[in-house]
């Protein structure tokens, strides 16, 4: 089933009656035009009948006779298109003159009587005139074949059809154009909505909107306000959740860290170390869940996109993870080429930081982790490659999903790191690709942006 279309409805509602009205008009024109021409032709037949009746005179025996010379009869019978017949009889039906077989109309209320008849196997128009003469009442019938009448009738039919078809086409075209023009404002509202970005929830302008769809636009604007309010509330909630969760976790972590070092805690040191590790894992997972919640596009959160220098993201991330890398005996480095994208800074930091954490966790001491950025083929990219244990080829798709951990994953990861990377990338219209690292060893994960970045000069 297709969606209802206002254009189709309007066209159906306007076109059908228009076609009916025009067809009725054509028919009425046709029938109106038929009457006068038929009367004119009948009048000619009647005139002929009058002329014939005027020349019927009594012969010496008192019988009526037609006293027309053959030339006059020839003139009477002459017609370019039709054959003309006539017959004169007495009131009793005795034949006087003309074509003997020509039928006569029965006595009718009107005089002359008009009608159709068959003669020599052909349809004829017949006029019978009852004339009172000295010899008594005469029936004079004149008939003609229908060729000229048919011709005229079809001329009238075709000419009125032609005019009406022109009218109909014109009306159809006008309706089509009118409906299209009338629907113009709808299309412009539609264009306005479809051309805006998914994050744009500002109200639609109501000035140029026709009254019929003003309430629709108003309803849309109300919806935008609601969505925006919901999104803002969710954003505020997530901001505050981040704060509310991080502060106690920080406290726990510091206290446990200090207790582990405390000489008086010797008997319970092992248990404290376990608590500290669990707290660190909890902190890490909390951070990741918050990041995931906040990068979730389905959550309709509207983050401000700004111009971001990729090298700044790389350098901040490396500076942030340097202690962890040095602690793990890993040679960490940055290779930055100028390049910028439109993005949300902290989300990109979060994504890159997850990639670097993964690399540090899965690269043995003495290994190398390199964070890169730049522009290839007009698209900006961020990349982290390592000389670590690598991700099996058949798991490279799956690791981007939530809670999936590679079969050779190390440490107590949550399985969320690469999911965050994938969601942040998606939010930025970027793609994530996983390959082997340099020389076929380790892992190289690249986030490639779609936009053409503005190069730094």
């Amino acid at each position: 089933m297709t969606a209802p279309s206002i254009r189709k409805r309007l066209l159906a509602l306007l076109l059908l009656p228009a076609v009916l009205i025009l067809t009725a008009g054509t028919l009425s024109d046709y029938f109106t035009a038929l009457t006068p021409y038929r009367d004119a032709y009948d009048q000619a037949l009647f005139d002929a009948a009058l002329a014939v009746s005027a020349h019927v005179r009594p012969d010496p025996q008192g019988h009526p006779t037609l006293s027309l010379p053959p030339d006059a009869i020839a003139i009477l019978r002459y017609d370019s298109y039709d054959s003309i017949f006539f017959k004169v009889t007495t009131e009793t039906g005795a034949f006087v003159a003309g074509d003997r077989g020509l039928p006569q109309l029965p006595e009718a209320a009107s005089n002359p009587a008009r009608g159709f008849a068959q003669y020599h196997g052909e349809a004829v128009r017949l006029v019978t005139y009852r004339a009172k003469r000295a010899t008594g009442v005469l029936n004079v019938s004149v008939a003609e074949t229908l060729h000229k009448r048919d011709r005229t009738r079809s001329r009238i039919l075709w000419s009125s059809l032609a005019v009406d078809i022109c009218q109909l086409s014109l009306v159809l075209a006008l309706i089509w154009i009118g409906v299209s023009l009338a629907l113009g404002p709808l299309r412009s509202v539609e264009a306005q909505i479809s051309s805006r970005s998914a994050r744009d929830l500002t109200p639609l302008p109501r000035e140029a909107v026709p009254t019929e769809i003003e309430s629709l636009v108003a309803a849309l604007n109300r919806l935008f306000v609601t969505v925006r309010a919901t999104s803002d509330a969710q954003k505020r909630f997530l901001e505050s959740a981040a704060h509310q969760l991080r502060t106690p976790l920080t406290g726990l972590q510091i206290q446990l860290e200090l207790l582990t070092e405390d000489p008086s805690a010797e008997p319970v040191r092992e248990r404290l170390a376990m608590l500290l590790e669990a707290t660190q894992r909890l902190t890490h997972t909390t951070q990741q869940l918050l990041a995931l919640a906040r990068s979730d596009e389905a959550g309709n959160l509207r983050w401000e996109f700004t111009q971001i220098e990729l090298s700044e993201i790389v350098e901040s991330t490396v500076a942030d993870r340097i202690s962890a890398a040095i602690g793990a005996g890993i040679d960490i480095g940055a290779e930055t080429e100028p390049g910028a994208v439109q993005g949300v800074r902290w989300l990109l930091l979060e994504a890159l930081s997850n990639l670097v954490n993964n690399s540090i966790a899965h690269t043995p001491a003495g290994g190398v982790v390199t964070v890169r950025c730049g522009v290839t083929d007009g698209a900006g990219f961020l990349e982290v490659s390592d000389s670590g244990i690598g991700i099996p080829v058949d798991e490279r798709e799956q690791v981007l999903g939530r809670f999936f951990r590679g079969s050779n994953a190390r440490g107590a990861g949550s399985g969320l790191g690469l999911a965050i990377v994938a969601e942040v990338a998606q939010l930025h219209g970027a793609s994530v690709s996983i390959d082997s690292g340099p020389e076929g060893k380790g892992t190289s994960v690249r986030i490639t942006f779609q936009q053409i970045p503005r190069l730094l000069t």
Partner: protein, 222 residues
Amino acid sequence: MRVLVVEDDPLVGDGVRRALSGGGFAVDLVASAEAARSALDTESFDLVIADIGLPREDGLQLVRSLRSRGKIVPVLMLTARDGLADRVTALDLGADDYLTKPFQVPELLARCRALIRRANSVASARMTFGDLELDTTRKSITATGKALELSQREWAILECLILNAGHIVSKNKLMSAIADWTEDLTLNAVEVYVSRLRAKLGGAAIISTVRGMGYRIDEPRK
């Protein structure tokens, strides 16, 4: 070394206080910006550690009011939020460094020492970094009491690294620290001086290379 900690969360506040005490600092803990201001009006501190998310008046307002009243005490901001805006605002308002929660104790101590060292390098000739002791006027240095012989440029590089301890120092920054009018230096020269410096320091301080970004100095792990 006296530090004022402004933190309203008791667990974090107590943790920071204990961590700093363990690191050899004298610590005062207050829970609000108002209390911090009155403490700073009556006593003198070498460093203020302030949480951004304080009740009523937040940490950013505290920094602004301190700077507007001419207090030059170094300030380290703590925050549980990860927005860039906070960090930029904090540094613009006059904070000297910024640490995001959760942080680890060694990181906190390194940042605190670096801030105090930097502030004191103007006023005092003596500077310590782990087991290293530096005399900035006589350009002499000892490692656990034993004197080290450093060239002028090695000294300049070490001083620059120590004053920025806890952060990565770019090669360009180190180059401008050793550049003079007489000689054109290349970035390779920086590498040469750093490797000589490493050899002379032995294990007294660790200079890590961060490829593509620069160097970072750390105290040796005990």
